[in-house]
Symmetry: C2
C-alpha cells in the first residue's frame, strides 16, 4: 500500500529504517531485548549529570525533581525488561485439538500477542524524561518488540537530541538492529509520519486540543491505527467532614504540596478539592503556601495561558482567594509562579462553570465548598468528564465501611470509578507509582482511548496485536507457542474434553 | 454531558434504559451473570424450531446450516458464562504497599477491568444467529457486565425481533435488570444511538463501506469511543508444489466445499488460492463443483453485486474459467448461485488487480498460478492489505520444518503473520472455532481495530476498561480486589520488596 503524500527525504529515511528494523527486532528473544532495555537504563544513569543539566536549563524544573524523574525513567526501563522476560503480556492461549468439542472437531489453536510494528510517540513538555524520548511509551514499545520513532517536544530540543543519542547508542551496543530508535522534531514532521502507512500505533501526552487533532488524524488514515493520547484531567478530590475533623492540618499541607510541586504542571494535579462548608482550612492553606518559592513555568506560552486562566478564575463571581500567590513574567517572557488557591461554593461553581471548570496548567487549584447533605455523587457527572484520578479523604469510621452515610459513600465511589482511571483513598494524586497495578488513563478527555494506561507495566498492551496459528507444526511455531515452551512463558492451555465447564454444569 | 442532537423519543427511552441498567448490571456477581447467559442459551435452544424456520425464510440459508449456527450461538453463550465465572479477564493486579520500592514508597494499588458501560452492536447479514442479536459481541458484552443494544440487520427483521424477545425474557427470568438487552432497527437509528454519549463502545460486522462510516462516527464523537468493526477479508491460501503432489484430490474437494458453503457468504471464504503453475487441479475442481446445487444469496442487493463482480472478473484479461457455475435471478430479484472458480497467472493478477483484488461476496474464488521460484512473501504486501486469515498448505517434509526452501517458507509465514489474524496450516479458513485461543480479526481492512477478536472468549476485552484503587480500605474495595478474594478470581500479586527482579539482577 502506498502513501497519499510522499514524505520528505529525511523523514522517509527514518520511517523506512523503522519499517526495515521491524521484523529483526520483533525476532529478538526476550532476554536479549531485556538486556537492551537495561543497557538503556544504565546509559541514562551514566549520562545523568549532563542530561539533568540540559533539562534544567530548557525546562526550568529543579535539579532535584529532574534527578528523581531520570531515576524513575531508568527504573521504568528495568521494569519493562522484567515484563519482556516474564512473557505474561503475550497472553499465550493454547487450545488442544479436541474431537469431542461441543461444536464438532476443534483444531489445535495457539494465540499470542505480537508487536504491532513501528510506533510513533509524541513527547510531553512537562516530563522531559519520564514522558519523553526514553519515557514510558518508548519503554513499553521497545519491550513489546516495536521500533520507536519519538517526536521531540519543542520545549526541550537539545535534551531530546542528546537523550535519543544515548538511547540509540545503548541499543546498538546491545546488538539491536539499526532503526529501532529514532527521533524527529517539528509538528509538521510528526503529522506527516503519523499519516504514514508503515506506522502502526501512536501515543501522545499533552493538551486536549493537540491530542484530539492527532487522534483524528490517526482515525482518518486510509488504514486507521490505535492512538493513545493522554490529554486533560482536573483530578477532583472529595474530603468528608470526618476527615476534616481528624486531620485538617495534614490535609492543608498535603494539598499545597501537591498543587505546588513542579509548579502545578502535572497531569494529576488536584484541580478541585471538595470540602464541607466551614471547613476552616483557609489559614492552614495560606500558611502552607506562603513559604513556597517562585518556580519557573515550562515555557512562555504556558506562562501566558496561566496568567489568563488565573485572572479569569479570580474574577469569577463568588470566588474567594485563600492563598493569593501569583506569577511574575521575566524579561524573556518566562513566568515565575507561586501557588494560588481559591474557594467557591458548589452553587457558584455551577454558575461559573464555563470559566471555572477547564484545566489550569500551573500551580492553582479550587476549593469547592459543599453544604451538609449535598449529593456529591450527583455532582460528579454534572460537573466532570473523564479524569485520570479521583481522590477521597475519609474519616476513620468511614474508611472502615461503617457510619451513617456509608451508602452515600459507596454511591460516590461507584460514580468516581466511572469517571476516573484511578481512585485514591487518602493521599494526593500527584506522584504516580510505576508498577504492575498502576492505571494512568481514564475516560475522555483524560485519554483518547480508555483501554490502557500510560504509566506502569500494563502499558505494553498498547503496542500489541493478537494472532493465532491453527494446526501449525511445532517446528514452524514461534517459540512462545511451542509445546516445549523454550522461553518458559505462561501458557493458558485449554485441554481436550474440557469445553464449557461452568456453562454445561449449570444446565 | 449532553448530546448535540436529542434522540427521537423511542430511542431516548431505549438508551436511557440501558444507561439506567448499567450500574445494577455491572454489580451482578459473576455466578448470577453466568446463570443468566446459560438461561439465554437454554431459551434459544428451546425456541430452536421457530427461530430456524424464520431465519431460513428470511435469509435463504439452509436449515442444516442454521441449526448448526444456533448451536454455535448457544455454546458461545455458555463459554462466556465460563469466562465470567473464571474471572481471568478481570486481569486483577495487586501491588502490595512497599516502603523499599526502587522509586520510594509504593502505595497499595489494585487494578482490574470494569465493564465499559452500554454497548451498541450492529448485526451482520450473513450470520443471523452467531453474529446477530444473540451473537458473539452480545455474549461478550453481557459477560463483561455491559448492557447491550443491538441494531438489527435489515436482512432478517422478524428473526431479530423474535430473538431479542427470547433473550430479554431469559435475562429477566434470571433476575437481570430491565434495560440490559434491547433491540433497535434502521440505519438512522443505529447512527443516532452510536452518537449518543451514553454509549461507551460499538461493534459491527459487515462491509468495509458501512463499517468505515460507523468507525468514523465513533471516532469523531465529542467523546470518542472504541469501535470494533469486522469488515473485509479475502483470506489468501498458499499451496506448495509438495502439497499438490501429495494431496491434489483432497485440496480440490476441500477448496470447493469452503467456497460453496453458505453460498460463499462467509467472511473467511478463501478468495485467492495460490497454486504452482501446472497444478493439474482444474478437472478435480470442476468435478467437485459440478454437483453443488443452487443456493440463494442472502438478499437482492448482494445478488446484484455478485452478478456484477463475477462478470467483471471473468471478463478480465488472462482469466480462465475452471468451474463456471453461475447465478440465476428469480422473479423476486433473489439470486441463486452455484460456485464459480477461475484461474489467473500471478502476472495477470498484478495487471488486473484493480478489478480482481476486491472481495467478492458469494461463491466465487480465484486460483492464482505462480511460477516456480516465485517470491510469494514479496507478493503478499504487494497485493494484500490485512486479512482475517491466511492459509498454508505444505507438504509433509515442509511441515516438519525441513527441506530446501524452509527459509523461504519461514519468510512467508512471517509475512502472513503480519497480514492476518489467524494463520492456518492445512485445512480451510471457513468454520471458525469458538474457543479461548481463536483470533478472528486482523489488520485493516479486516478490522477497524486490530487489538481484539470478534470470535472466541478473548472478545470480552472489547468491552472492558482498567481502573485502579489506591490505598483503599478492604471494606470499600470491589470483591475481586479484596485480599480475601471472595469471588476466587486469579490475582497477580506483586509482593513488597520484589521490584525489578530481572532488571536489577542484570545490572
Amino acid at each position: 500500500m502506498t502513501n497519499a503524500e510522499p514524505l520528505a527525504p529525511e523523514l522517509e529515511t527514518i520511517v523506512a529504517n523503522a519499517a526495515a528494523a521491524s521484523d529483526a527486532y520483533a525476532a529478538v528473544n526476550p532476554v536479549e531485548r531485556a538486556k537492551a532495555l537495561v543497557a538503556v537504563a544504565d546509559a541514562l544513569d551514566a549520562s545523568r549529570e549532563e542530561l539533568v543539566s540540559i533539562a534544567a536549563s530548557e525546562t526550568g524544573l529543579t535539579e532535584a525533581r529532574l534527578n528523581g524523574e531520570l531515576t524513575r525513567t531508568a527504573v521504568q526501563l528495568r521494569l519493562f525488561a522484567d515484563v519482556a522476560v516474564d512473557g505474561g503480556y503475550l497472553d499465550v492461549r493454547i487450545d488442544e485439538a479436541d474431537t469431542a468439542f461441543a461444536l464438532g472437531v476443534r483444531p489445535d489453536l495457539r494465540r499470542y500477542h505480537i508487536p504491532v510494528g513501528p510506533v510513533l510517540n509524541f513527547s510531553a513538555s512537562n516530563f522531559p524524561f519520564a514522558f519523553s524520548v526514553a519515557g514510558g511509551d518508548s519503554a513499553a514499545a521497545l519491550a513489546a518488540g516495536c521500533p520507536v520513532i519519538v517526536k521531540a517536544h519543542s520545549g526541550h530540543p537539545q535534551l531530546s537530541i542528546r537523550t535519543a543519542e544515548v538511547v540509540a547508542e545503548a541499543l546498538a551496543g546491545a546488538g539491536m538492529p539499526d532503526g529501532v530508535f529514532q527521533l524527529i522534531a517539528g509538528q509538521a514532521a510528526g503529522i506527516a509520519v503519523l499519516k504514514d502507512a508503515r506506522i502502526k500505533a501512536g501515543s501522545f501526552t499533552g493538551s486536549i486540543y493537540a491530542g484530539r487533532l492527532l487522534a483524528d488524524i490517526a482515525a482518518s488514515r486510509p488504514a486507521p491505527i490505535r492512538f493513545y493520547g493522554e490529554l486533560g484531567s482536573v483530578n477532583p478530590v472529595f474530603v468528608t467532614k470526618a476527615a476534616i475533623d481528624e486531620q485538617a492540618a495534614e490535609l492543608a499541607a498535603g494539598y499545597v504540596t501537591s498543587v505546588a510541586g513542579s509548579a502545578g504542571q502535572l497531569c494529576t494535579k488536584p484541580g478541585f478539592v471538595f470540602v464541607p462548608e466551614a471547613h476552616g482550612l483557609d489559614e492552614a492553606i495560606a500558611s502552607a503556601a506562603a513559604p513556597v518559592g517562585e518556580h519557573r513555568l515550562l515555557n512562555q506560552k504556558i506562562a501566558k495561558s496561566y496568567v489568563e486562566r488565573r485572572d479569569a478564575i479570580i474574577g469569577t463571581a463568588g470566588v474567594r482567594v485563600v492563598a493569593e500567590g501569583g506569577i511574575r513574567i521575566d524579561d524573556e517572557g518566562h513566568g515565575w509562579a507561586t501557588p494560588t488557591i481559591v474557594a467557591v461554593s458548589l452553587d457558584n461553581l455551577r454558575a461559573g462553570r464555563e470559566t471555572l471548570m477547564d484545566e489550569v496548567f500551573g500551580p492553582m487549584s479550587v476549593l469547592v465548598e459543599y453544604p451538609a447533605g449535598a449529593d456529591l455523587a450527583a455532582a460528579v457527572p454534572e460537573l466532570f468528564e473523564g479524569n485520570l484520578t479521583a481522590t477521597l479523604h475519609l474519616g476513620t469510621v468511614e474508611s472502615a465501611g461503617e457510619g451513617a452515610d456509608v451508602e452515600a459513600l459507596r454511591d460516590l465511589i461507584r460514580v468516581l470509578t466511572q469517571h476516573a482511571g484511578r481512585v485514591l483513598f487518602g493521599g494526593w494524586p500527584t506522584g504516580v507509582a510505576v508498577t504492575p497495578a498502576m492505571q494512568h488513563g481514564g475516560p475522555w478527555p483524560a485519554t483518547s482511548n480508555d483501554s490502557s494506561t500510560s504509566v506502569g507495566t500494563a502499558a505494553i498492551s498498547r503496542f500489541l496485536r493478537p494472532v493465532a496459528y491453527q494446526s501449525a507444526p511445532d517446528a514452524l511455531l514461534p517459540e512462545p507457542l511451542r509445546t516445549s515452551n523454550p522461553w518458559n512463558v505462561p501458557q493458558a492451555i485449554a485441554p481436550a474434553g474440557e469445553s464449557t465447564q461452568w456453562g454445561s454444569s449449570a444446565k
